[in-house]
């Protein structure tokens, strides 16, 4: 197929961004060299095309003159080779001896060339033309393009170029001279009119685009096309910021807008015809053939409450709750402000909370069981950790109390996962909102001796990292409340309960060998003073020993 020659491209792409730039003396010699080269190329190409029009605009001539005045010598060796290259098609590799000879020859002719900065377009005009005559032999261009090797003294090309291999230099210079005129707007007219163009009509193109758009449409673009939506938001934000700063005038960057097409009404995936055996094969483009009814519907039979199905049920519940949670979180991200939405949101949150507390399969189980079962799974813990910040205070508190009530159980169940840690952050935030009474309730659960066991739950709690952190957080909050609120200091049942608890806790900690004390995730600073207030010195010393060991561990 026709490959447009380089000459053509030069002729067609008459674009000289550089020609209009003022040549400053600071510009590198190479720059100055290149511009006239480019201009020469154009002229050369015109020559070849035989168009006698002298298209050299006056501006160009001025440029050439000024260029030549600045650096006369540099112009000359490059005058010839580029024109030669245009004319002598693809001869690039020869650096043979004949080239050296012609180089020598050329150096002698250079002086003649000096006063003539440019070569006129008409072949007949100008004495410069015939100077190129003797230089026609092919090897010349290759050597002439790399003058530094032959004439180090005459030329002052930048040193970084002179160190290069001559072929490399030549390629670089070619690129420089050819690169710029080609840069945008390179939407030049086609070399020869393409007779096969537009075989694909505009209608057909639009059709393809439409089909592609249909494939893109979605009801929830934030979900389906998350990255593009985020990107576009960031872009818009950046533009708005820039506009605000006055840095650039507002221009809208386009957004992909998919057409809204009515979604086909929900199809019946499973068709049951009375009297037929099994399912009828109804195929659509979404389900070619639905063979198995894999979604559980109907009630679970009571007999199948085996351990595995129980666990499956818990997992299933957790998944459903997670979907609800994600919906709530998405809603939170998108539309923070409207009151109607916030009502809807809080009702969703409440629904989720109820689902969390809901019973398992048998309604005979204890009240907190549903919640505890969910917490036994790692994902359930993650769910609760994410849910706690968005729950209203009293709901969060009830969850917290449930956790403290059953802490030993949870700790035991967590040995494999060690995932309770993720609950610590949201729980400690919740603890800060506890009232004194609620706090006492929470602590009592830990202190009380459960029926039928001689060990207090607190012993086990102290050995677990999460447990001990939670305990410390509770105690610290209690101490804060007490110190801030003087009314609590008055003797009352609450206060005595509090004191008892503190003493007991201190005693338990002191009892525990230091090695088995777990390292808390956070050590509140007001604990030791708290203990100091309530227990005797000896005990305090023991406590200090243990706690400081722990705090040193944390700090290190």
């Amino acid at each position: 197929m026709a490959t447009p020659s380089r000459k053509d491209s030069h002729g067609a792409g008459v674009y000289l961004p550089e020609a209009n730039n003022a040549l400053s003396p600071e510009e590198t010699a190479l720059e100055q060299v290149c511009q006239p080269e480019k201009i020469k190329c154009l002229q050369g190409s015109r020559l070849d095309q035989g168009s006698g029009k002298s298209h050299v605009p006056s501006a160009l001539e001025e440029e050439l003159v000024s260029a030549s005045q600045l650096e006369e010598e540099e112009l000359d060796p490059d005058l010839a080779p580029d024109v030669e290259e245009e004319e002598a098609e693809e001869e690039e590799n020869d650096l043979g001896d004949p080239a050296v000879q012609s180089a020598v020859h050329n150096s002698q002719t250079l002086d003649h060339l000096a006063p003539l900065p440019f070569r006129p377009s008409l072949p007949s005009a100008g004495s410069a033309a015939h100077h190129f005559g003797p230089q026609l032999p092919a090897p010349d261009p290759s050597l002439l393009c790399s003058p530094p090797t032959s004439w180090p003294l005459r030329l002052s090309l930048p040193s970084h170029l002179t160190q290069l291999h001559p072929q490399h230099q030549r390629i670089l210079k070619q690129q420089q001279q050819q690169g710029r005129p080609r840069s945008p707007p390179a939407k030049k007219w086609p070399q020869q009119p393409d007779s096969y163009a537009n075989l694909m009509t505009q209608k057909e193109k639009d059709w393809v685009v439409r089909v592609q758009m249909v494939q893109l449409q979605s009801e929830n673009p934030r979900l389906d096309d998350y990255y593009y939506q985020e990107y576009y938001q960031k872009l818009e934000k950046k533009q708005a910021d820039e506009e605000l700063l006055g840095q650039r005038s507002r221009f809208e960057s386009l957004k992909l807008v998919t057409p809204y097409i009515q979604k086909a009404e929900a199809y019946e995936s499973v068709v049951r015809i009375e009297g037929s055996l099994g399912q009828v094969a109804v195929s659509t483009c979404f389900t070619p053939r639905r063979a198995i009814d894999a979604v559980p519907h109907g009630t679970q039979e009571q007999e199948t409450a085996a351990a595995s199905s129980q666990r499956l049920w818990v997992l299933y519940r957790i998944e459903k709750m997670f979907l609800q949670l994600l919906e709530i979180e998405d809603g939170q991200q998108d539309a923070p402000a409207q009151p109607r939405d916030s009502e809807q949101r809080s009702s969703r949150v409440e629904k989720l909370f109820q689902a969390l507390k809901a019973q398992g399969q048998n309604n005979l189980e204890a009240a907190d069981d549903g919640f505890l079962q969910a917490l036994s799974v790692g994902k359930g813990k993650a769910l609760v950790a994410r849910l706690l910040p968005i729950l209203p205070r009293d709901r969060a508190v009830s969850l917290l109390l449930a956790i403290t009530r059953h802490l030993p159980f949870l700790v035991k169940r967590d040995v494999a996962d060690q995932a309770l840690q993720m609950l610590f952050q949201p729980l400690s935030k919740c603890i800060r909102h506890l009232t004194f009474h609620e706090l006492l309730q929470g602590l009592q659960g830990l202190i009380r001796l459960p029926p039928g066991s001689s060990e207090r739950p607190i012993t086990m709690v102290l050995q677990n990292q999460f447990g001990i952190s939670l305990l410390y957080a509770l105690l610290s909050h209690g101490e804060q409340l007490v110190s801030l609120n003087s009314s609590l200091k008055e003797p009352s049942s609450d206060h005595s309960a509090w004191t008892d608890m503190v003493v007991l806790t201190a005693w338990e900690i002191a009892q525990m060998p230091t090695a088995s004390l777990a390292e808390p995730l956070a050590f509140p600073s007001n604990l030791l003073p708290l203990f100091c207030h309530h227990v005797d010195k000896q005990l305090v010393q023991k406590l200090e020993a243990r706690m400081e060991y722990v705090t040193v561990e944390i700090r290190s």
Binding site: M1, T3, P4, S5, R6, S9, E90, Q178, R182, Q191, D194, Y196, A197, N198, L199, M200, E204, K205, V208, V209, V211, Q212, M213, Q215, L216, Y228, Y231, Y232, S253, L254, K255, L256
Partner: protein, 133 residues
């Protein structure tokens, strides 16, 4: 891009010269005339270019209709830079011969490798006996 901002589309590439690499390793060069939603391509004045080392040969093929799933990649060819290549164009016969030789050496090397592995009791599943992914 003016049709669908934020997406990539072949609409703007129509009537331009492209280089298309197919899944079977062939390289086609032709003017892209028509597309559809599966990126099936219609190439006009197509040339199959075979590269062996520093040489290449063009086999003119006419019109190609390529099923979209067989395209690895395609890119527009800059008509100006097209001839600016260090590669050397040779005749079709020569390039086919070169290709044959290259295939042969590759096959022999492969055979040796397989034999060596077999001697050690190992086997590597060959790409051509395996599904592509």
């Amino acid at each position: 891009m003016n049709y669908m901002p934020g997406t990539a589309s072949l609409i703007e590439d129509i009537d331009k010269k492209h280089l298309v690499l197919l899944r079977d390793g062939r390289t086609l060069i032709g003017f892209l005339r028509s597309i559809d939603q599966f990126a099936n391509l219609v190439l006009h004045q197509t040339v199959e270019r075979i590269h062996v080392g520093k040489k290449y040969g063009d086999i003119p093929r006419g019109i190609f209709v390529v099923r979209g799933e067989n395209v690895v990649l395609l890119g527009e060819i800059d008509l100006e830079k097209e001839s600016d290549t260090p590669l050397q164009q040779v005749s079709i016969e020569e390039i086919l011969e070169e290709q044959r030789v290259e295939q042969q050496t590759k096959l022999e090397a492969e055979k040796l490798k397989v034999q060596a592995l077999k001697d050690r009791g190992l086997s590597i599943p060959r790409a051509d006996t395996l599904e592509e992914y």
